[in-house]
């Protein structure tokens, strides 16, 4: 019998307990390249089982790799001797009991579909395309395939398959190390437009051959690339998680259904968006559906899971911010850049960290292509810059939004290697605070 089927039977065997299982089979094929050649190729396979056992309001959790029914049962029996001695968590109510399922679609295994040979073929084309500007390519080309079973004593038996592709290609000038970035992310490799990717990468490399200058600290009008505004919203997610409300660290405390940002800001969490990496369930196993977060500047919803939802008396919605989508505006990118007298185009951000999460004060840096805009044109490359700013002020400062949006992939490198994506347009921001220069590109 397949192991995941054994898990439901084990739940039945212990009626005095509430058991919650996450059984995961995960593979990755991971290519890293540098100086227009392979650095290394990695293939990994992992099978893991995360178990939480509740007896009333007492709980114990454990993880096992490549377990068997016998090992699991022996471990549960060990826990039975201990669990009565543990203190209760009075805030625990119950495990997920909504048995409704999402479509649970089968997905192509992109590890098989995008072979190492195919990846190399694509990378060779990238390498040739930027060679004439004296750039070499650096980056990663990853395919994952994961099957997750979420099973519990309330009869939950759900499955989620994902197979994201993540391609991040940086072109680095061999003379001065100016770096530009182009990325692709998704689960349908048919949507990867090789020609467009090469054209964008080449255009950026060409722009990056301009003179490199430094700028002073101060306030600038900036055009933020979709990756940047996406990242700011992803950092704000810590305030949208209900746990931050419980720990009194949420910027949105007391602001539900209040106007928090300008009316041109609408953000939705849309895990089934056709252009994004999709998710069926949150960690509880609750169906993860489309949810408005900011609607015309009004804060509409926290991400509510079972534990904190019950603790703070809010209804579970299963959302977790894994697929943010920002509504587009009415300007073209050319119009946005064209209307800047002297400002900056920022391609990407690096090493952000909150100074005070409740105030959304943050510091971080620009990366992978920061450009000077003069009289409506990108004219020079600027050294990477540090900003120290409240995210809320940056969003307040958005004056224009592009009329198209882009899929931007992100990798999550702590814990399991996860790949997520957002759908964001370019935005223009007034009064963006640069606090210092790095003096390097």
């Amino acid at each position: 019998m397949e192991f995941q089927k054994e898990l439901s039977k084990i739940c039945e065997k212990y009626p005095q307990l509430k058991l919650n299982f996450h059984y995961k089979i995960w593979e990755t094929d991971f290519l890293r390249f540098y100086q227009s050649q392979i650095n290394y190729n990695i293939s990994k396979t992992s099978i893991s089982l995360s178990t939480t056992i509740y007896k009333g309001k007492k709980s114990y959790s454990f993880s096992l790799k490549d377990s068997t029914k016998e090992i699991l049962q022996s471990k549960i029996d060990d826990v039975l001797d201990l669990i009565d001695q543990l203190p209760e968590d009075p805030d625990f109510v119950d495990l997920e009991d909504d048995l409704s399922k999402s479509a649970e679609k089968e997905k192509t295994n992109n590890i098989e579909k995008v072979s190492l040979e195919k990846k190399i073929d694509i990378l060779e084309k990238f390498s040739k395309a930027v060679e004439s500007y004296d750039f070499k390519i650096y980056g990663t080309f990853i395919c994952n395939y994961r099957t997750l079973y979420i099973i519990n004593s309330n009869g939950l038996d759900k499955r989620e398959i994902s197979s994201p592709i993540y391609l991040e290609c940086k072109a680095v000038n061999q003379k001065n190390e100016v770096t530009v970035l182009e990325a692709y992310g998704g689960e349908r490799f048919e949507s990867f437009n090789e020609e467009e990717f090469i054209s964008n990468l080449t255009k950026k490399a060409k722009a990056a051959t301009a003179e490199v200058v430094d700028v002073d600290a101060g306030e600038y009008e900036v055009v933020l690339a979709p990756r940047c505004i996406g990242e700011y919203f992803m950092y704000l997610e810590s305030s949208i998680n209900l746990s931050s409300l419980d720990s009194k660290q949420s910027y949105f405390e007391g602001k539900l259904n209040s106007q928090v940002f300008p009316e041109n800001i609408t953000i939705t969490d849309d895990p089934q968006h056709p252009e994004l990496i999709n998710f069926d369930y949150n960690g509880d196993g609750h169906v993860y559906k489309k949810l408005p977060i900011i609607e015309k500047g009004v804060f509409k919803n926290f991400f509510v899971d079972n534990y904190y939802g019950r603790k703070l008396k809010m209804e579970t919605n299963g959302a977790n911010g894994g697929a943010l989508v920002m509504d587009t505006g009415d300007k073209t990118l050319d119009e946005m850049i064209g209307s800047v007298k002297r400002g900056l185009y920022i391609s990407s951000l690096h090493y952000m960290n909150f100074i005070n999460p409740k105030e959304t004060s943050i510091t971080g840096l620009t990366r992978d292509g920061t450009f000077l805009i003069e009289d409506g044109r990108i004219t020079k490359v600027v050294n990477n810059l540090r900003f120290t700013e409240n995210i809320s002020d940056i969003i307040e400062g958005i004056t224009e939004i592009e009329n198209k949006s882009y899929t931007i992939p992100y990798s999550s490198n702590y814990g399991e290697f996860g790949i997520y994506s957002v759908r964001m347009p370019h935005v223009k921001v007034n009064g963006f605070k640069i606090s210092s220069s790095t003096r390097t590109v």
């Binding site: 991971f30 540098y34 050649q37 990994k44 993880s63 190492l116 960290n353 005070n356 990798s411 003096r439």
Partner: protein
Amino acid sequence: MKKLVYDIINKLNAQNITYADVRFTDTDSQQIYFEKGKLKYFGSNMDSLALGIRVLADGCWGFAGTTILTQTSIDKTIKKAISNARVGSKFRKKSASFRKLKPVQDSYFFKPIEDPFLMDDKYKIDFHEKVAQKLVGNDKIVYSFVYSEFYRQYKIFANTEGTLVDSLVYDSMPKMYVLASNGRESMSRNWPGDMNGQRGGFEVIRNVKLEENTDRIIEEAIKLLDAPRIEEERADLIIGNGHLALQLHESVGHATEADRIFGKEISYAGKTFIKPAMLGNFKYGSDIVNIYSDSTNQGGMGFHIVDDEGTPGAKVDIIKNGILVDQQTSQENAAILGVKPSSNMMASFADDIPLIRMTNFCLAPGKGSLDDLIKSTENGYYIDFTKTWSIDDNRNNFQFTTEIGWKIENGELKHIVKEPTYFGITPEFWAACDGICGEEEWNFQGTFHCGKGEPGQSMHLSHGVAPARFKNIVCNVKA
């Protein structure tokens, strides 16, 4: 398991490859987490077995790892590692090389004073609950936690050069935290700081005296709500060990990892401002700054007999009298730079590929006590307990915020200041170092969470530091 590793090495030796190494790890960990006085998480990851095979063939590296240790899976993993190298070599312009290593056969088994995996679980829970209970009850403390993590890893390393080393280590990491609020703003205090991991068992938890310091952090967090901020544009800063370890980690440790020089980490962790031509002549800090990598010191979490490609543990000067003299290297990168390998290739688990990682990365002690250093400071701040950190892609521009600072006037600690935030350019900052305390103040700080690589790895490592003073630092940065 040694037989399993031998068998794999034998199979690899039968292939037409340049070099291969095989690692097996069996890792246990346990976590205890109380939030707002209640047990929120108690759990473990036991007997996490993993196998990793790294192959150099046709001038390219290939790697495969698995947690499934059936013979079929192992054979598939061997095959995959070899094919990853051979196929990869088609997009390789310059062959990767690996120098012959002298084989090492040895064992190392660390014995903790109190083995957390043999202790009574109820005792550990009661110990932490007592601390957790002391963190709640004050109206101004709106959030608190106490957390400890215990770790044990058995590892077998073998390579096709004839090396076979097995080791067992124990690491532990405690932390407690309070957040005070007055309704308008909130201020945090933690103990014993963010660099709180140490080699050892439950004795590590006892040594940091959590219970004895609960009143202190509650009082300081509440006082910080009404404390002033630093108003001067620039000031002299004395940085305490916990935070100085992070300063060293970010602005020297990562900057001197040789894989960054060659762009191997650009896609995630970043580059470095250091270029090969700087070795031997670049002024990285003042004359009193001496920094070294030391995987031979058994007191730190970075100790090993051999690293994860078989290079014996080594103590290597990185900055000598303020001059950059070496890098943290692998066999391959050391050969390109023309230096001796520094024994810094490490992986978190066997199914992770080894990368250049800090081991025990240390600032050498100077002279005198912390009291002496404070007494010799006319006007400045003593700061510690990291709150925020950020450094650029090239490890040149950093900005840090600590939870708390103490104003120093005429050699005496005065009032506290909230969220001291300072900024610097790496070589200018280290050039401004004019005092480092002596052996009596020097100790190991450490972390379980140094992130690097893709797929990401969290490394356990240590920093030996003593408090140090930095002159005329920009310290008035506000959002």
